[in-house]
């Protein structure tokens, strides 16, 4: 099996357990994303894979070969693993120019490699900085140099540690896309760490969600988006409307109507999460819509125009007509109803999830 396999990794710094029994597979030719909040151990995993930290417990295989084993303290040093690692702070060598930085890891500088580097520089639009030193480059330019430097020695697998977090938002999307295209062209296995779910969705073929040193869920972006295994995973992809209630008759009452939760026994408390962008909105009272499973009427309270979407607060009556709740709705495009207008809101059932409440 080619690619990177990390088996049952356990890691602690002093008394603090950073990774508790984590197993990950990053297949060749695919881009795998480690997604999770800071402190969940993603960077440590990367460093373990690269050999910059010693494995305490567990095993690591590269292209089917064992490179590290915690029990026997066996470890192949980083310089011999053939792994490319791109650091969050880029870590360009200040005393070398761009070309020399990129060429640093290339043992045998053949014409082919040289051509590859020159072409890559052109492809990524930094050819004119070939002889410049890192400190005169902008953040985006440094990021591209760091990427090329990691790729130039033709590693088996490329590890990226939050590669886009240092870039300003306006350019981030474009650079992301350029990077992804480039990586796909290179065909190398990629393991990327990020805390930005949108980034993960965009770039990954396979996502591994981590929290507090453990893998919570792994799967394709579609799987994770539509079938989250926990509230935590569901919440990763954006703000949710949360309703809590006691399960009665296999259902929980919400402002959008009763929501069936067969998995949780009656009498226990559960939470129902409805994605903001999964809720539609029409003016006035729409009887057809009200007949669907999760719909209700309400009054518009606030409207925020975000450019490509609109964010509305709608005041709706609570479950069984008791009390009130404010729904957060995000619709694409520009929608600007009057404040206080009557609207009908209805949710896409595929974007509503129920979980036990702990």
């Amino acid at each position: 099996m080619s690619g990177l396999v990390m088996e049952r990794i356990r890691h602690a710094y002093g008394n603090i357990e950073v990774l508790k029994d984590v197993s990950i597979i990053a297949e060749a030719g695919k881009l795998t994303c480690l997604l999770g909040p800071s402190g969940c151990g993603k960077t440590t995993l990367l460093r373990l894979a690269a050999g910059l930290e010693a494995v305490q417990d567990g095993r690591i295989y590269l292209k089917g070969k064992l490179v590290a084993d915690g029990k026997s303290n066996f470890s192949i040093p980083p310089e011999k693993r053939g792994i490319g690692l791109m650091f969050q702070d880029y870590a360009l060598f200040p005393h070398l120019n761009v070309f020399d930085n990129i060429a640093f890891g290339v043992r045998n500088m053949t014409t082919e490699r040289r051509t590859w580097i020159e072409e890559a520089l052109k492809r990524l639009g930094i050819a004119k900085h070939r002889n410049s030193f890192p400190h005169v480059l902008s953040g985006g330019q440094q990021q591209r140099v760091a990427l090329l430097r990691a790729l130039a020695p033709q590693p088996e697998i490329l590890l990226l540690d939050e590669p886009f977090s240092g870039l300003d938002v306006t350019r981030r999307a474009q650079i992301r896309e350029d990077t992804l295209t480039f990586l796909k062209e290179c065909g190398v296995a990629v393991l990327m760490v990020t805390h930005d779910p949108e980034e993960a969705m965009f770039m990954a073929d396979h996502i591994v969600v981590m929290k507090s040193g453990q893998v919570v869920q792994a799967g394709t972006p579609v799987q994770i988006y539509f079938h989250p295994v926990s509230a935590f995973v569901a919440r990763l992809f954006g703000e949710m409307n949360v309703f809590e209630g006691k399960v009665e008759n296999g259902q929980v009452a919400t402002p959008l109507g009763p929501f069936p939760i067969p998995a949780i026994p009656d009498g226990q408390f559960a939470q129902v999460l409805a994605r903001m962008e999964g809720i539609r909105l029409v003016s006035g009272r729409d009887e057809t819509a009200l007949k669907t499973c999760c719909a209700t009427t309400g009054r518009v309270e606030e409207v925020y125009l975000l450019g490509r979407s609109s964010h509305l607060h709608v005041r709706v009556p609570g479950p069984f007509g008791k009390g009130e709740a404010v729904l957060h709705v995000r619709v694409p495009g520009v929608m600007k109803p009057e404040k206080g207008a009557l609207v009908t809101v209805f949710a896409d059932p595929k974007q509503v999830f129920g979980f036990p409440l702990h």
Partner: protein, 572 residues
């Protein structure tokens, strides 16, 4: 957002286990370097009779106050002159600025006692200045007019400030050059004018460097003997010599030296602790060239004068005086082993600089690799030689080398029946090792600060790119350290050229350096005979000093030929 701070503050470089060949080797070397000081502490452990009660009753408080006053005065003076001129020269453009960049460093090459002799000759009662005043004013004796006494605490402060401010200038300038212009511009847009930006932003950011510079200066001041002895200013160091020689109590002297050492350690620890609470990362990674703020004519002339004064008083005037003496007396100098002394000075200084660099880099590098705290403590002890008066340290070296020599001799005699005699004692190795132990802190500090700029990510990057530890050292660390190493080498070289007490005590037979030559004559107020030698010391120091200035300026934005503005395409 993962913690970038952890990657730069405490390097998570692949560590070497605490007990390993490398760690033990480092410990061995550090112990050898620290041994002379440990010997001094050993002498201090012997009882010294009633020396202490005598000192406390009589002079101790005066010694302490005078020493503190001296250190404070010199510290403030060098801070103002060093930092001020560094700022002016770095940030402004005015006539002569390019020359002042390196010229301001030259007084460093002048030994303090030489400048003391020169100004005494000029300013004392029977000197030309007072003579002129008397002629012009028609005065008869010194009671008729007021003139300050150069041979006083104030005079000593002035003399030492003049030759020590370059240390602060050097480090402040390096720090200012490193700062991103963007940080300063940010300060300007937030409503702080240029002066305020200097005081509130640039100065605090440069604080670690300036602190190192001022502490260097203060230690040099603390250890000075020639100047204060000549001016009859009673400091702690003169007290040490007094107890040693006049009260014939080496143990008392060693005890005083130990007290001084502790004082220095406390000072350094305090400063470091305060600094620990602050982080000095350069947050703006985008560095643009400092173009320099062109000064309007009036201010340009003020800047010119502000920079010209230290150079004139610290170098030009003494050089002129010495030059005039040399013209009259050069034949005396040239007759007396001048050339061999010059060769000795140059060779020893160069050798010591080389060894100090190698050891300093080695120690700093080891500390970076290993995690053992005791290693840290021993290495820092080894670098404390700077804080001990030269003559006292020399005694430690004598005893250490003597011990080794006699030990080896004894072993050889019992095993092989052959006597090897003295191997190191009384040879140039003794003098060179004295220099190395004394000045190690310069190279160690420079290597440490240079290595601090190498982030853990860079180490990791090099490793993942296929470079093992040694290759990383060669291709990444050493090139990045080049600037610091050059600086340290030049500083050690200049200091060794000036060094006096250790050389006198440790030297081989029939051996002298330029410094001992100058002292021999100058101490008997025959400075004119030694003027040429004194000038040679200064001249030998000028070349390294200019190199130093050049190195610092170059280490900053080189290669700006490519561009200075953020590009429109794909840039931030």
């Amino acid at each position: 957002m993962t913690n970038a701070a952890s990657q730069t503050a405490t390097p998570n470089v692949p560590k070497v286990p605490a007990i390993s060949g490398w760690a033990l080797g480092t410990l061995g070397i550090a112990l050898v370097l620290a041994a002379p000081m440990l010997w001094v502490l050993g002498i201090a452990a012997e009882p010294s009779g009633d020396i202490w009660s005598h000192l406390v009753e009589t002079v101790l408080s005066r010694l302490i106050w005078t020493t503190l006053a001296l250190m404070t005065g010199v510290g403030i003076g060098t801070f103002i002159i060093g930092t001020g001129t560094a700022w002016i020269v770095t940030m402004c453009r005015f006539p002569g600025q390019k020359i002042f960049e390196w010229a301001l460093l030259i007084p460093m090459a002048v030994p303090a006692y030489v400048i003391a002799y020169v100004y005494t000759d000029l300013l004392e009662y029977s000197g030309p200045i007072q003579g002129l005043i008397r002629d012009l004013g028609g005065f008869e004796t010194r009671r008729d007019y007021w003139f300050f006494d150069i041979r006083s605490l104030g005079g000593a402060i002035a003399m030492m400030t003049l030759v020590l401010y370059p240390y602060v200038y050097l480090l402040a300038r390096a720090a200012f050059l490193e700062q991103s212009v963007c940080v300063l511009e940010a300060s300007r847009t937030l409503g702080r004018g240029p002066w305020a930006s200097f005081f509130k932003v640039a100065l605090p950011l440069a604080r670690p460097a300036i602190a190192v510079g001022v502490s260097l200066v203060m230690m040099e001041t603390l250890n000075d003997f020639g100047t204060v002895d000549f001016f009859a200013v009673a400091t702690f160091t003169t007290g040490i010599f007094d107890v040693w020689l006049n009260m014939n109590s080496p143990s008392g002297a060693a005890q005083l030296a130990t007290v001084m050492l502790v004082f220095v350690i406390v000072l350094i620890a305090l400063e470091r602790h305060e600094r620990r609470l602050q982080k000095f990362h350069h947050t703006s990674s985008h560095i643009r060239a400092i173009v320099g703020y062109k000064l309007p004519p009036l201010r340009a002339w003020a800047a010119f004068i502000a920079c010209a004064l230290p150079v004139m008083l610290g170098f030009l005037l003494p050089a002129a005086v010495l030059g005039s003496y040399a013209l009259n007396f050069y034949s005396v100098t040239l007759n007396a082993n001048f050339w061999s002394f010059t060769l000795n000075s140059l060779t020893l200084s160069a050798a010591a600089a080389f060894v100090a660099i190698v050891l300093g880099v080695f120690l700093a590098y080891s500390l970076r690799l290993g995690r053992a705290p005791w290693l840290n403590a021993v290495a820092r002890l080894a670098a404390l030689g700077y804080a001990v008066p030269g003559a006292v340290l020399a005694i430690g070296i004598l005893m250490f080398l003597g011990f080794i020599d006699n030990f080896v001799d004894g072993a050889m005699k019992s095993v092989f029946g052959v006597s090897t005699g003295l191997i190191f004692s009384g040879t140039v190795v003794a003098v060179t090792s004295g220099y190395v132990v004394r000045f190690l802190s310069l190279s160690f500090g420079a290597a440490e600060s240079g290595l601090a700029k190498v982030t853990a990510s860079m180490d990791g990057a090099a490793r993942t790119l296929g470079a093992g530890p040694l290759e990383t050292l060669r291709r990444v660390h050493l090139p990045m350290l080049k600037g610091s190493i050059m600086t340290a080498a030049l500083l050690v070289f200049v200091d060794c050229m000036k060094e006096l007490p250790m050389t006198v005590i440790l030297r081989p037979f029939d051996f002298g350096t330029l410094a001992t030559f100058v002292h021999q004559y100058a101490s008997d107020e025959m400075l004119p005979e030694a003027a040429l030698a004194a000038l040679t010391i200064v001249a030998a120091g000028i070349v390294p000093v200019i190199l130093l200035s050049y190195t610092i300026a170059k280490s900053r934005v080189s290669n700006l030929g490519a561009q200075t503005e953020p590009d429109a395409e794909g840039g931030q």
